[in-house]
Amino acid sequence: MPRLILTFNKQVIKEYPFLKDSITIGRNDDNGIIIDNLAVSSYHAKIDKVGSDYIVTDLQSTNGTFVNDQKVVSHKLSHGDNIIVGKHVILFVAAEKGTEAEATDQKEKLDKTMMLDTAKQKELLAKQQVTPKVPKPLEKIGVLSFINGSELGEIELKKKLTRIGKGDASEIKLSGMFMGSTAATISKRPSGYTITFAGGKTKLKVNGEVVKDSVALKDFDTIELGSHRFQFYQKEVKPD
């Protein structure tokens, strides 16, 4: 059974198995593949199973239907074809049938790493005079908010690695008889912010629990280093 993979701005939105003999694509609710976007007509295109072939047909849509870089009225689909409807791209993945070799060949094609060619897509979209209104995801930045009347107030964690302690190398300086030169570090990692105990006789506590190595930080965790108490949270910032 072939599949249709709906993508938008390089993101996969949904996968549709081709279950019936025909599937329609459009903005209206009664389409098989519904795309709620003004660049897409109410009934934009349809795909029909004809024998063992699959044919895409443009339903006289306003902005047209493209397969790869060609504007089409009707087109026989092959494995890996990109059907472009407005700003959305639908990838046609053929059923894994036919000869064994053919099937492996297809699989190998998908196994191979490839780079998405967005230049061509952009070109096509420009021709259609559709202004994309893609909101750029906001970046999150960690903030330490000092609780007990410290003059430090709020500190944004702008570095990938922030050191906290008494020493000169520490970005956040905290006093205390037993405070380590670097008492703790906070690093921004692929999984999020992590706090690590670094040294000294002052204990590091997160939500009251002593931390001896590392722990992931969640919003509104309370961190204690000796008499210093602060809360961690993340706020959204506009990317540069």
């Binding site: 599949r3 993979i5 196994d111 191979k112 790493t113 490839m114 995801p137 990938k160 690695l161 692929p190």
Partner: protein
């Protein structure tokens, strides 16, 4: 801090050529893995040039102790100067590969991933573009220090797809960022403080397609030295069909202090000291 490292690359069982490339440069503390793409040997060219250029420009900047404004591209204030040397080296390699691909017809469409690791006395710095990964094994846990630039990984990050769905998704090899396909590239970069006995793995997707994070953790904990680990990873992917080229670089950090301790300390420090004293006496006696 002592660093032990090893690297290996293997063509696998299905591909006719190896488009991966790597380098291990202990004198710089710099380790690189690149997985090239593009027909007619262009993939091999892209990955080799990227590895060579990153090493070359990084070395030059470190030796000159270059200032941030002398580097390639805007300095990133969220990382150290060494982090900026690494970022700039990757950006420069990107520009060269990109321009080569524009100028030479046979190199059209070539590109490569890069995963780079820099070890300094105060930092572990990991930077990457594409889907080659960097793992850190510490205190019995495994953690990624790289981000995959694939459609599927972005879906996972957005919460649209689970890790499990991602590993079997048809588009999992489609990259959203690589080195050589655009004039400018912004690598992902992370900095953390090194810790005793950290073990780091840099690898191409030939490994991660067939071996899970959990298995990587277990295998990394099971061995004594990085060379052995690299060999074990390649044995594993070959056993599982090795449909792609596989490259692994392993870097083990050990604390200098531990290494200088008398090996006899295993039988108890006082006893070791006692024996040491006896040895000294014997030496004196002999001379």
């Amino acid at each position: 801090m002592l660093i032990a490292s090893s690297g290996i690359t293997n063509v696998g069982l299905k591909r006719g050529s190896n488009e991966d490339c790597y380098s291990t440069e202990d004198s710089l503390g710099l380790y690189v893995v690149a997985d090239g793409m593009g027909g007619h040997q262009a993939g091999e060219v892209a990955s080799r040039i990227a590895v060579e250029l990153i090493n070359k420009s990084f070395r030059r900047w470190v030796e000159q102790e270059a200032y941030e404004h002398e580097l390639f591209g805007y300095p990133d204030n969220s990382v150290t100067i060494h982090g900026n040397y690494l970022l700039s080296s990757i950006r420069l390699a990107n520009r060269v590969v990109y321009e080569m691909a524009l100028e030479h017809e046979q190199y059209q469409g070539m590109g490569t991933t890069v995963a780079t690791l820099l070890i300094t006395p105060s930092r572990i710095i990991a930077a990457n573009v594409g889907d080659s990964r960097i793992y850190m094994v510490r205190d019995g846990h495994i953690e990624r220090l790289s981000k995959d630039h694939t459609i599927v990984a972005e879906q996972v990050e957005m919460g649209v797809m689970t890790e499990e769905e991602a590993s079997s998704a048809p588009l999992k090899h489609v990259l959203t960022r690589n080195l050589g396909s655009a004039e400018n590239v912004e690598p992902e970069i992370f900095e953390i403080e090194p810790s005793n006995d950290d073990r780091l793995i840099i690898c191409s997707d030939g490994l991660t397609d067939l071996v899970s994070d959990r298995e990587i953790l277990e295998m990394t904990q099971d061995v004594e030295d990085p060379e052995n680990l690299c060999n074990k990873f390649v044995e594993k992917v070959l056993k599982r069909g090795a449909h792609d080229n596989t490259t692994v670089v392993s870097v083990f950090l050990t604390d200098m202090k531990k290494k200088t301790v008398n090996p006899l300390s295993r039988i108890g420090l006082p006893l070791a000291e006692g024996i040491g004293n006896i040895q000294k006496v014997i030496k004196k006696f002999k001379s």
